[in-house]
């Protein structure tokens, strides 16, 4: 198994350990050993968009310095592809990386600011795990599937930060297909959703705007259901929280609303590759197990 550096981010270690656990299992199925970055720090969750704010790029870049160190210390196999699963961490780390690559002056300033760290050489590539799977090849991934999820209708939800802005996102921002390819590789059936990349309301879930999130959850989940989907998969922990947990508020506002499981793509991969004990199906708000039992993918 090839050793790759891995950035978990805070959610995979705390609120969504079912994402973290199933991520490690999914990587194993793809013959990858994830080596967690020693002493990683929070990326900041959102990318700083003002041109004069360098301070908030320090945290992401410091993580990339750690990847450099991992290579020097032989913790990974001369591997500069940093694997990330969380869409938001992926976006933030990649944007900071691209910014310092384009702007050597900015890189120099950040390096001088982090005077207790070695200089960042901008050699790391920030990669989302879906890209890693695509690079390995869907045919090869398909061969790792022990339990094809035949007949399961899944709607992919991309959200924002996996796709946009252009140059950072992992697929066409208007017509992405990578998650549908993933669903097919797992033996399941992809179902299209016109709102697959509509913003779920993001951090407006904090404070007085929960209704705004509930409205978008209503729209996204309903569209998936109308197109025949039985569940939604995503790779963003904030989208997952909004589309899954906020179905409670959605149901309160729209009593006729029918709830639907929204789970991480890695949970599906752990199940399909025969590692359902590591899929963490008890971690989601809307339980997907009754549906998976109905299909015969889970016993009991």
């Amino acid at each position: 198994m090839k050793k790759f550096p891995y950035y978990p981010g805070c959610t995979l270690k705390q609120a969504a350990t079912h994402f973290g656990e199933s991520a490690i299992a999914s990587a194993k199925a793809a013959d990858i050993e994830l080596v967690e970055i020693p002493r990683w720090n929070c990326c900041g969750a959102v990318s700083s968009l003002t041109s004069d704010d360098l301070m908030h790029h320090v945290a992401p870049i410091r993580n990339l310095v750690r990847v450099q160190e991992m290579n020097q210390e032989g913790l990974v196999d001369n591997e500069y592809d940093l694997i990330v699963f969380c869409s938001m961490c992926f976006n933030v780390l990649k944007r900071s990386n691209e910014r310092v690559r384009e702007d050597p002056e900015m890189l120099k300033t950040i390096n001088q600011f982090m005077d207790t760290e070695q200089d960042y050489e901008a050699k790391v590539n920030v990669v989302h795990f879906l890209e890693t799977l695509k690079e390995i090849g869907w045919n090869k991934i398909e061969r790792q599937v022990k339990k094809p999820l035949k007949g399961l209708k899944i709607s992919a939800y991309y959200g924002c930060t996996l796709l946009r802005p252009r140059g950072i996102g992992i697929d066409d921002p208007e017509a992405p297909t990578i998650m549908d390819d993933f669903i097919r590789a797992m033996g399941a059936e992809p179902v299209s959703n016109p709102y697959k990349s509509l913003c779920c309301g993001s951090y407006h879930t904090v404070g007085d705007n929960k209704e705004l999130v509930a409205d978008r959850t209503y729209k996204i989940v309903n569209a998936a259901r109308e197109n025949g989907a039985e569940m939604i998969i995503t790779s963003c922990p904030l989208c997952a929280y909004n589309l899954d947990n906020r179905q409670k508020e959605t149901k309160e506002k729209y009593p006729e609303f029918k709830q639907m499981p929204v789970i991480y793509f890695t949970q599906i991969m752990a199940l399909a590759t025969g590692m359902e004990d590591r899929a963490g199906f008890n971690g989601n708000y809307i339980d997907s197990r009754p549906l998976l039992r109905e299909h015969g993918f889970l016993e009991g």
Partner: protein, 134 residues
């Protein structure tokens, strides 16, 4: 026929400041409105995304009091669609920052119920605090 909008010096300073902070050529916007039609928050906003840009173009600082600039969640849908290549999400960030940098927060985290805070994942809290507070 060329229409010319004359902007007063004081108002021009606000435009230039916002251009510098956002790194965007705001005067390039021709008001086609694709940002407004693409924005998932338009229906909840007091002014439209295209109006945000227009107000900055004419140097109207009143745009800082709109709720629209705070509803923009940087989803980048307008960014990938703008025919002039303008990143409106960077502009709304520059506008929010002009308030936040005076140590004026948009939400008071202490007003949020403790139980609710405990339920929220770190990713929600960190991103909300980064966007709403100084």
């Amino acid at each position: 026929m060329t229409a010319v909008i004359k902007v007063k010096k004081k108002n021009r300073e606000f435009l230039l400041k916002t251009e510098e902070m956002s790194g965007e050529h705001i005067t390039m916007c021709e008001q086609c409105g694709i940002c407004t039609t693409s924005c998932p928050m338009t229906e909840d906003m007091d002014i439209s995304p295209a109006s945000i840009i227009h107000l900055v173009q004419i140097g109207d600082e009143g745009v800082l009091d709109s709720t629209a600039i705070w509803l923009c969640a940087s989803c980048y849908t307008c960014t990938v669609r703008c025919p002039r290549g303008i990143d409106l999400s960077a502009i709304t960030e520059a506008l929010r920052q002009q308030t936040l940098r005076k140590s004026i927060d948009y939400i008071d985290i202490n007003s949020i119920d403790r139980k609710e805070l405990e339920e929220l994942p770190a990713i929600a809290l960190v991103s909300a605090l980064r966007k709403y507070t100084s």
